[in-house]
């Protein structure tokens, strides 16, 4: 076989390069693996209160910076404890925790909000924190409503599995410049809301009064509008067995609300998740948007503070306001933690006045620490101030959504979001839609009651 020296040399060089590349890649990718458990000591142990703990942030990326600052301060105050921060995208947090519950590798501390609490508690993944909270410096300093909300969402045993960090609240954002131009009052009542939506709409000029959420997350917003208009203040009837979602007053309210679609909203709203909804409101000429405190900073970046306001949901003619609950966010202590003492120290530190205040200032949400809620920045962020006032001044009744039902996420998302789109399109009546959802909820409630006694 003929092969020249030159080709042999080239071939050898190629082989050497390939081997070198392979070796470098192999060495790089195989370095520093572990069993995913983090921490030290025995599984599920109190630990020494020193060493490493792992913290999973349930809204990674957006909150990474503020959490890193809090962690740096914590490590300064507790030099014997190292906190490993893992920021996980909010949309994927639940599936990552669920996988870790099944396969191992849970962190010591993790973000656990009310909406995901029932699932985690049902899988026995969390340690109750009532005892630790009662003995801690936080005792008596946390917002009672948030504690109640998280306790109720925990799965029915009356225990608290997550220490609240912040509350979100529904906000009606409206463009003050467009309202002023049209000579409209602030949409503080539902009547004013509907009138403004009509008056601000001019489809020929691509101007719309409102943007409705028709895609992912549509059910919570629709429920908020329904209960807000019907004035019904409880999700369940007096016996606690049948839901009120298909009450005739709610049916009428949903029919009126869904009637806004395409009449005063863009047709593309059918697929609106919050990202699209917020993006088109921030960059277009739409009069009003329902979202929560979380998007306030996005609006400020896009519009400045002069062109819009964020106010609590509209009231009924008698001035009363009814809203559905937003999931309270919190920090949970995972049962498999090998260093619970250090993990609790971190939760306690993060929930202290100073840290809770700086966290919520960045997030634009309502602090869970009562002292932090009195800080000056609250008065400067109008939507947060108004939301905090609405939640505490007695003007608002909160309809608690059944986050404790393990099936709640399925019912309020996969099962009914496509049906809500049919309602918007006129292919399904509001009554049929709500009757179906009510049937699913009643069954889930009956199952839950049977299991929990």
């Amino acid at each position: 076989m003929k092969t020249s020296k030159r080709r042999t040399s080239t071939g050898a060089r190629r082989t050497t390069a390939a081997v070198a590349l392979g070796a470098v890649l192999a060495l790089t990718v195989t370095a520093c693996g572990d069993d995913g458990s983090g921490g030290s000591g025995d599984a599920g142990a109190e630990g020494s209160g020193k060493g490493k703990i792992v913290f999973w942030d349930n809204n990674g990326g957006v909150r990474t910076e503020i959490w890193k600052q809090i962690i740096a301060d914590f490590e300064k105050a507790n030099p014997d404890i190292d906190v490993e921060y893992v920021g996980i995208p909010s949309t994927d947090y639940q599936s990552k925790v669920d996988t870790a519950i099944q396969g191992g590798g849970l962190p010591d501390v993790g973000g656990v909000n009310a909406a995901m609490l029932a699932g985690f508690a049902a899988q026995n993944a969390l340690d109750p924190v009532d005892g630790r909270l009662a003995k801690s410096s936080l005792s008596g300093k946390m917002n009672k409503d948030m504690i109640t909300s998280l306790r109720a969402a925990g799965g029915g045993d009356g225990k608290l599995y997550s220490v609240p960090t912040s509350a979100n609240n529904g906000v009606l954002y409206y463009r003050t410049d467009l309202f002023k131009k049209a000579g409209l009052d602030a949409p503080t009542t539902w009547d004013k809301f509907y009138a403004a939506a009509d008056k601000l709409t001019d489809t020929r000029k691509n101007a719309f009064g409102y943007t409705i959420r028709g895609g992912t997350g549509s059910i919570a917003q629709a429920l908020d509008a329904m209960y807000g208009q019907s004035g019904i203040t409880s999700f369940w009837d007096a016996g606690g067995k049948k839901t009120t979602v298909n009450d005739p007053r709610n049916v009428a309210a949903l029919k009126k609300y869904a009637g806004l679609f395409k009449r005063v909203t863009p047709a593309a709203d059918l697929n609106n998740d919050f990202t699209k909804m917020v993006a088109q409101w921030d960059s277009g000429t739409i009069g009003m948007l329902n979202h929560n405190l979380g998007s306030y900073q996005d609006h400020v970046k896009a519009l400045g503070t002069e062109k819009f306001r964020g106010i609590p949901q509209p009231t009924l003619p008698d001035g009363k306001r009814v809203q559905v609950s937003n999931p309270t966010d919190g920090l949970g202590l995972f049962k498999t933690s090998k260093n619970k003492e250090a993990a609790w120290k971190f939760i306690e530190f993060a929930s202290s006045r100073e840290q809770n205040s700086r966290f919520n200032k960045t997030a634009g949400q309502v602090p869970s620490n009562n002292d932090a809620a009195k800080d000056a920045w609250i008065a400067e962020a109008e939507p947060t101030k108004l939301a905090a006032a609405a939640l505490t001044d007695g003007s608002t009744t909160i309809v608690q959504l059944p986050y404790y039902l393990p099936d709640w996420n399925t019912i309020s998302k996969a099962d009914n979001e496509p049906n809500f789109q049919k309602v918007l399109n006129g292919d399904l009546s509001a009554k049929a839609f709500l009757d179906t959802m009510a049937g699913q909820l009643n069954t889930a409630q009956a199952d839950w009651t049977t299991r929990n006694g």
Binding site: M1, L21, D35, G61, V62, V86, S90, G294, A302
Partner: protein, 298 residues
């Protein structure tokens, strides 16, 4: 005749003669077709394809809060933010490592397996091929928990190797089938000629078959790289350390639970797309050849 010469003079099947036009059927030459009938549909198609890309570019280059339809005044703040503040430099490096390692391992194992499938007959060959095909219908999410347990047992959680192995395993079936088809198209007589010249099987494969597989290898390698570059699930589940996460996970962290920075998201999307575009731009010629010509050349 040396092996090299044999490769060069290997018989190539003659292309089939085109069918003569049916009587009475009118055929227009390309020259007779008005240019607009070609360019108008292509332009419309191109417009639909490019508008979303333009939109991403626009959001990434215009300042936050701007509603302008052109990226002017232009800013690179979003790129700077994601690259430095949001650790995309690290994610990018990790994605490159995972992509290259997956490319190398997938190609090497697919070559070995594909050769066996193409050149050897064994009892369970058909069942094995069927199993390879069926494995394509298993969604990755279904295997997350068992894979997680295996990697945890091997202490490979938090290691890029876990992602590379998982990606390779999922890329292999299709790659192996493709490579075996490419190898089948290389005349066996070429290898036999090499054996007569004194080569063993491995040398004959390396010297005779491998050079003819270049388009196929490029196709398989590029699909392995792009597949692992875009894949999100394994990196999310097996990597906990922030310093080891990859671009798709980083992109998802730009979307918060209640807020989203569209400028940063668009800049992150462009950073994620650029390597894939470059890879396809460079390998386009071989990719088309690889999938159409069966890898035999004279």
């Amino acid at each position: 005749m040396s092996v090299k010469e044999a490769v060069k003079t290997a018989p190539v099947p003659a292309p089939a003669a085109p069918e003569p036009p049916r009587p009475g059927r009118r055929h227009r030459a390309w020259d007779e077709v008005p240019r607009w009938q070609i360019y108008l549909p292509l332009s419309v198609y191109l417009l639909f394809t490019l508008i979303p890309f333009y939109w991403i570019l626009l959001f990434s280059l215009r300042p936050a809060g701007s509603t302008s339809l052109v990226p002017w005044p232009m800013t690179f703040d979003h790129f700077e933010k994601v690259w430095t503040d949001r650790s995309f430099a690290t994610y990018f490096q990790n994605s490159v490592l995972v992509g290259l390692a997956t490319l190398v391992t997938t190609t090497l194992v697919a070559l070995a397996g594909g050769y066996a499938l193409a050149r050897f007959d064994f009892k369970i060959k058909r069942a094995f091929m069927l199993a390879l095909l069926c494995s394509q219908f298993v969604p990755g999410a279904l295997l997350l928990v068992p894979l997680f347990e295996i990697f945890a047992e091997l202490k490979m959680i938090n290691s890029l190797a876990s992602v590379v192995i998982a990606e390779t395993v999922f890329q292999l079936p299709l790659s192996m089938i493709l490579i075996s088809n490419f190898i089948k198209n290389v005349p066996y007589s070429l290898e036999e000629a090499a054996w007569v010249d004194g080569c063993n099987r491995l040398t004959a494969f390396r010297v005779v078959v491998l050079p003819l597989l270049r388009p196929g290898l490029i196709a398989v390698g590029s699909f392995a790289f792009v597949g692992s570059w875009n894949h999100f699930l394994f990196a999310l589940m097996f990597l906990n350390n922030q310093e080891k996460q990859t671009i798709p996970v980083g992109l998802n962290t730009l979307m918060g639970a209640d807020s989203v920075d569209l400028g940063a998201l668009a800049a992150g999307g462009i950073i994620a797309a650029v390597p894939v575009v470059i890879v396809f731009a460079f390998i386009q010629k071989w990719l088309v050849t690889g999938f159409s010509a069966g890898a035999v050349k004279g």
